[in-house]
Symmetry: C2
Subunit: 229 residues, 2 copies
DNA sequence: TTTATTAATGTAGATTTTACACTTACATAA
DNA sequence: TTATGTAAGTGTAAAATCTACATTAATAAA
């Protein structure tokens, strides 16, 4: 019987996490220096093996936590990579996950202790196995996602300026956006609350701070929409 | 060592294929009646186990062929399902694949011999395991894909009428489209060749037949574009 | 009080999208 | 041969959206 369970092959199933972060310097990616063979010392995505009694989503969360100390990160599944020799040690299929986080909200010291490090996207080192490809695909997905869902929620501090939001979008899309058009498009979504408070860091005039309006934001998440930037 | 290969669990990895087809009656899905336990006799997606020396994409092709006789079908990977008890017999992670095919181009007799059957989407029976969810997600992906890539190529006969193309889009999107606006949008893509030939089946006047212009079509596939229907 | 710096703001023209109805071609039946 | 019925084919005007673009405003520092 072709389809009998007992005669089917079992394989190792891994999860690799592509963690994007944003700070005042732009879009970054979190990588670790492998502390085990093969490729010990080389840079890699944060990854590990799925356990028998574990759902993939949870494996991603556990592995991210194990290697970076990061907690409560919402990740989305991306793609299963299955080239025969992608891992030279043993046949391993890897499912990639990605997330967007606010670098400043997370303990940079902690991350460092785990030998994890943030790299500006453009300056990321070469990665082991097929991790470069995984990152490339994740960036594509991130850009696509940007066009159909509002983002920023996860990446900016609670209170942020229009300029910060603009720079976030510019970093993700890696292109310049017209400031006035951007602001009016964002405003037309009605997902921001303009505060009375100003941020005085950036200029003498100071710029208004905004927060996300969670309710409206969730509403937008439901009905797919297109944001043409 | 947390991350050692030898101590990691191995699991069964399956592939399930969501095959969409289109004919004059509308959008359909290909299902098989399981001829093995558990759930023998119930309807299910076409699925099977990944082999140790096989890439997922090829497993999907092999499995589809094994259970339906279908050949040369291009499938796209969708999502990995990993709920612990999704398969009651043994822990199995399943990666879903989907494809769009032209029902009339494929041997219906052959498919029947394999106990596979086409069901109109709306009339599909309840499926085993988490297959209903897989189908739901695949339909969503199909609709999304429709908005960013031209489709039809795979689903229509070589020569087809505008009405057929319109009906295909209406079936996938499950909404009515304005005939004139649809035609002018499609024409603006410049991916069709209008033939001198007419199809006389559908009306006394007869309607012009079209073919896809493969080159232009491939070109469009490269540059992502948005088709707002 | 002058200067320098970034924030904030509006509009006109171009493009795209939408809604909508009549004429044409032909086969069939009278 | 003529009349009739059926689906095919076609255009436009109004609305909405997108794009490009430049000046004034607020404030701190000199």
């Amino acid at each position: 019987m072709l389809n009998s369970y007992s005669s089917a092959d079992k394989v190792l199933l891994a999860v690799d996490c592509i963690i994007f972060g944003f700070d005042h310097q732009g879009l970054k990616i979190l990588l670790i220096q492998r502390d085990f063979e093969p490729e010990k010392g080389k840079w890699s995505l944060i990854g590990g093996f799925l356990k028998r009694d574990e759902v993939l989503d949870n494996a991603a969360i556990r592995i991210l936590n194990t290697y970076t100390g990061l907690n409560d990160i919402y990740m989305e599944q991306l793609y299963a990579y299955s080239e025969i020799d992608r891992d030279p040690v043993e046949r391993t299929i890897s499912v990639s996950y990605y997330a967007l986080i606010n670098i400043e909200n997370h303990n940079t010291e902690l991350i460092k202790n785990y030998h994890a490090e943030w790299f500006p996207i453009a300056e990321a080192p070469n990665l082991i196995f097929d991790h470069n490809e995984m990152v490339k695909n994740a960036i594509r997905r991130l850009r696509y996602r940007t066009s159909i869902k509002p983002i920023g929620f996860e990446l900016l501090p609670e209170k942020f300026t229009m300029r910060q939001l603009l720079e976030l979008y510019e970093a993700i899309l890696s292109k310049e956006l017209d400031k006035r058009n951007f602001i009016s498009k964002i405003n037309s979504l009605e997902i921001l609350n303009k505060l009375d408070e100003k941020d005085m860091q950036s200029s003498r005039k100071g710029s208004y701070l905004y927060t996300f309006n969670k309710e409206k934001y969730e509403e937008k998440l439901l009905n797919d929409f297109v944001l043409n930037l």
